[in-house]
């Protein structure tokens, strides 16, 4: 009985270890980016990253909530104006991807390059936030992050939502 349980526990541990090895190897690049993104925001949120990444890095709901509460970051809504008017993260700036040619230079003119930017759109199936994030990196901003859960995850978590505005 006891040896049976020991064998069961051992086999379960093997399953977890194999899953960990495969999972970490499979997602190595993602985990590396996440680790680097986490390190840069945790240690020096107001300083420009020494080597700005070519891709905007992902940030999770908890981190976005902290950044919104502390007002450390400019939160950018990449959806169209109509979606923004219906509901957006409280305090977010509307910068639809379709108007990026006109609005990104305006943002560059009035925002320090070392400012932390967080872009979101309409959840995991929406890629506008990532595309806009790349544009912002190309425009010279050093710290651009993407909140992949976007407005749906924020709203579903019960966090502050605003309506209207431009």
């Amino acid at each position: 009985m006891r040896s049976d349980l020991r064998r069961l526990a051992t086999e379960m541990a093997v399953i977890v270890l194999v899953a960990a090895a495969v999972g970490i190897a499979w997602n190595f690049r993602l985990l590396r980016d996440v680790w680097q993104g986490h390190a840069s925001t945790a240690s020096a949120p107001s300083l420009p990253a020494p080597n700005a990444p070519a891709e905007p890095l992902p940030l999770g709901l908890i981190q976005i909530k902290e950044l919104v509460d502390s007002k450390e970051a400019v939160i950018i809504d990449a959806r169209d104006r109509e979606a923004f008017r219906k509901g957006h993260i409280s305090g977010a700036l509307s910068l639809p991807l379709g108007e990026a040619d006109r609005l990104v230079p305006e943002l560059v003119a009035k925002t320090p390059k070392e400012k932390l930017l967080v872009v979101y759109c309409n959840g995991y199936d929406c890629h506008d936030s990532k595309t806009l994030g790349r544009r912002l990196l190309a425009a010279g901003f050093g710290q651009v992050f993407v909140f992949e859960g976007g407005f749906p995850e924020w709203r579903d978590a019960g966090y502050p939502v605003a309506q209207g505005g431009e």
């Binding site: 399953i15 899953a19 960990a20 999972g23 985990l31």
Partner: protein
């Protein structure tokens, strides 16, 4: 074992395995989205959500494969019981904390599944896994 019980165990084993395979593969295809689902539970930190998102789907896939093939099925069933207990505790904690989130059990970012629905589903899966564990061959 009675023939009926043996067949029932086999049917449950393959069905449970298929559910785990399906759930795991959906998450493997979109780990960032699954990380977002884990983050919405507000239990572990940023890096932790991605580490769990990278590993947990593979635990599900391995258990699913073991259950479907029948090799080390009792171990996989025991693992399924443990996983479902963890899922149920986490889901229940979202109810207690008033978090109205999608459970993130299958397709990420899709239609929202309420915590109570997910708890009921996980209870069913846990009972099935417990049955397989008890009746399964050693």
């Amino acid at each position: 074992m009675q023939p009926v019980a043996r067949h029932l165990t086999a049917v449950l084993r393959v069905a449970l395995g298929a559910v785990f395979l399906y759930a795991g593969m959906l998450k493997i295809s979109n780990p960032a989205a699954f990380a977002g689902s884990i983050a919405s539970y507000q239990v572990i930190g940023y890096v932790g959500t991605y580490v769990v998102a990278a590993i947990l789907p593979w635990v599900e896939v391995i258990c699913g494969a073991l259950l479907v093939t029948g090799w080390r099925a009792r171990t996989a069933a025991a693992m399924a019981v443990v996983l479902n207990v963890v899922f149920i505790v986490l889901l229940f904690s979202t109810v207690v904390r008033g978090l109205d989130i999608d459970c993130g059990c299958f397709r990420q970012g899709g239609e929202k599944t309420s915590a109570w629905t997910a708890i009921f589903r996980d209870l069913m899966l846990m009972v099935a896994a417990g049955f397989i564990y008890r009746k399964g061959t050693r």
